[in-house]
């Protein structure tokens, strides 16, 4: 056995706990998870059945964590987890799973399949089976300030642009403020709009806020790749920044996996509770709305609007009602898609799939689910609260000649309709 494989197996072994053991023990191979999966539904190929994507992990559990499996292994009857198996499973684990978690909600015995894929990726990446783009992004982010490399200068430029556009002062690295805003590199790359929107909203709400130059990037490729060390390092930059500036609340931006990384996995990655709160930006805005701090001007967007629930924020993050409360303030032709909310179909780009070139073809196919869901409503505009869903939707709509449909950020939309 090579050292790399050994490292991978040991990383995978660490992931097997009581939930994983009860999930594998309970699976009766009913195949219903396939019906929840966009990759299976759009290809009809049984290899995309979610539970099947976990075979390497299931084998390790059987061989090492069950009585019969241990006996079988001792008699030389167990099927080993080897490099050939992991190589074969690479594309199933990374290219054809967005960690969207629809399967987790329909499994009759209650298996959290998406969680297990996330766990399996720890073993895959440690054994050298992670996709090149995710590995490269992990290196860039570890050495720089974002998965796109060093974005510190770009951030400062965007802040200056936003100041010019709003006429407001935006202080970087300000201590003792109410909110620390995180951003995703996509938002910084796209333009000053998000910073501008937040500046306007915070100003009207009378809240103090800042951006830290030491921890502004919210995305975390360590989560998608399945590398706890990378993920912990990236999260700790944010934790250190927030604690140094003594902020009360850290705002996770419009990014799905960043919310999982900062809000839910982060404390476990660093092994302690935070000294601050983390909330998704839409949770913060909805709280402002409830407290009367976010007032709109009464005008409405008359376009036919639908909302796309990002998997990691909605289904796996519990933020479903908040965006609707906000959208209803500013839109008068808001139409829900079929399956909206907890069972929404994934944009097809999450979980690292969109960053992985090898997955382009299968991703385009899988987008077919989303496409049908959108076509049934026929909207003028799709509003969402994840910048990666946003980019993916724009790209895939263009490929499908549907780019007459506009894609918009809910935060930016709220800023447009603020009362003067």
């Amino acid at each position: 056995m090579t050292a790399t494989l050994e490292r991978g197996l040991s990383a995978l072994r660490e992931q097997i706990d009581a939930p994983v053991a009860s999930f594998f023990t309970s699976c009766v191979s009913c195949g219903l998870c396939a019906e929840a999966c966009l990759f299976y539904k759009e290809t009809g190929d049984p290899k995309y059945t979610p539970i099947h994507k976990l075979e390497p992990m299931r084998r390790m559990w059987e061989n090492e964590f069950t009585l019969i499996g241990r006996v079988k292994s001792m008699l030389g009857l167990g099927k080993p987890v080897d490099d050939a198996l992991l190589t074969e499973w690479e594309t199933l684990v990374y290219d054809s799973c967005t960690l969207c978690g629809r399967c987790t909600l329909i499994c009759p015995v209650g298996n959290d399949i998406a969680l297990m894929v996330r766990k399996l990726r720890e073993g895959m990446s440690a054994s050298g089976h992670g996709p090149v783009e995710l590995n490269a992004a992990a290196v860039r982010h570890t050495e720089g300030t974002s998965p796109m490399g060093n974005l510190s200068k770009a951030l400062e430029a965007r802040v200056k642009q936003a100041e010019a556009l709003t006429g407001l002062d935006i202080a970087l690295d300000k201590e003792g403020v109410d909110y620390l805003l995180l951003l995703s590199s996509h938002e910084i790359a796209a333009g000053p709009e998000m910073i501008e929107a937040v500046a306007k909203i915070m100003d009207k709400a009378g809240k103090s806020w800042t951006i830290s130059t030491e921890g502004f990037e919210a995305t975390n490729v360590g989560i998608q790749l399945g590398n706890r060390d990378v993920a912990a390092n990236l999260v700790s930059r944010i934790v250190n920044a927030a604690e140094k500036l003594k902020v009360k609340t850290v705002i996770s931006p419009e990014c799905g996996h960043a919310f999982q990384a900062v809000r839910w996995e982060g404390p476990n990655l660093i092994g302690r509770e935070y000294k601050f709160e983390v909330r998704h930006i839409i949770e913060v805005l909805d709280q402002f709305r409830a407290e009367g701090l976010l007032k709109v001007n009464g005008e409405k967007d008359h376009a036919k609007i639908t909302f796309h629930d990002p998997c990691q924020v909605a289904r796996r993050g519990g933020v479903i009602q908040e965006p609707r409360n906000l959208l209803n303030l500013v839109a008068d032709n808001f139409v829900e898609t079929d399956n909206a909310g907890a069972m929404n179909w994934c944009c097809s780009g999450g979980g690292g799939v969109g960053a992985n070139q090898r997955a382009n073809e299968i991703q385009e196919k899988a987008f077919g689910r989303k496409k049908k869901q959108i076509q049934a409503v026929g909207p003028d505009k799709i509003v969402t609260m994840c910048s990666f869903c946003h980019t993916t939707l724009e790209d895939q709509l263009e490929i499908n000649n549907m780019d007459d449909i506009e894609v918009a950020s809910l935060t930016e939309m709220m800023a447009e309709y603020l009362a003067e």
């Binding site: 009913c30 219903l32 019906e35 993050g317």
Partner: protein
């Protein structure tokens, strides 16, 4: 009077049953302890919802199919429900079974009439055949199926079929022999239980609890 199968029946009712019961209980405990001993790490993320409450709730609520899902795999869902319900009615509400449980642990409850129990058993057998059919023909299920799946399906159906034959003396069979066979098939099910996917009948509660508590911590649906 001198039924040649009498000794066989006595053995399966006595020593045979005791052996099966010991293997079932010991095996079950072992498997459940094997799972629970793995434990899980403490979650440091501040909960938004109620992990424990939602975990417990999900043990029950996950029994109901999500909206629109039955349409996606009607045979698996419908036959799945019918099989489970039919099996449990036949298992738990036949007078003779209740008497057996009473003799073992002293608990008893009202029985259902014979026609109802037999209809439930018959429907469960038909459902099991349907489940076997989709397992053999549907590409997703065929790809997932291992020997264990067929073994479990067969072992679950045999007591239903043999019980019906024994009670009704179908084809004029010998009641003593078939009752002995019926009990033996039930014992086979008991012995296999801890070592096969039959375990899901116990661990589904753990799996659903964990699923519900993980989602519940985040204030998300489960």
């Amino acid at each position: 009077m001198n039924n040649p199968y009498f000794d066989f029946l006595m053995w399966v009712r006595g020593p045979g049953f005791n052996i099966a019961l010991v293997i079932l209980v010991a095996g079950l405990l072992l498997r459940v302890i094997e799972i629970l001993l793995l434990g899980r790490k403490r979650d440091f993320a501040k909960p938004k919802g109620n992990p424990v409450g939602q975990g417990i709730r999900t043990i029950f609520t996950r029994s109901v199919a999500r909206k629109g899902m039955v349409r996606e795999a009607p045979v698996t869902y419908v036959a799945g429900y019918v099989f489970h319900l039919g099996f449990f009615i036949a298992f738990l509400f036949l007078g003779a079974h209740i008497a057996l449980v009473k003799s073992l642990i002293g608990l008893s409850w009202p029985d259902f009439n014979k026609a109802l129990v037999e209809s439930a058993a018959a429907l469960a057998v038909i459902a099991a055949i349907a489940l076997g059919y989709t397992r053999a023909t549907d590409p997703v299920r065929r790809a997932l199926t291992k020997f264990d799946d067929w073994l479990v399906l067969t072992l679950s159906v045999l007591p239903l079929v043999t019980g019906y034959i024994a009670v009704n003396r179908v084809f004029g069979v010998d009641a003593t022999l078939w009752m002995a066979i019926h009990i033996l098939t039930a014992e086979a099910l008991m012995v296999a239980f801890p070592f096969t996917k039959l375990m899901h009948a116990v661990t589904f509660a753990l799996a659903r609890y964990y699923n519900g508590s993980i989602q519940g911590r985040k204030g998300a649906e489960s």
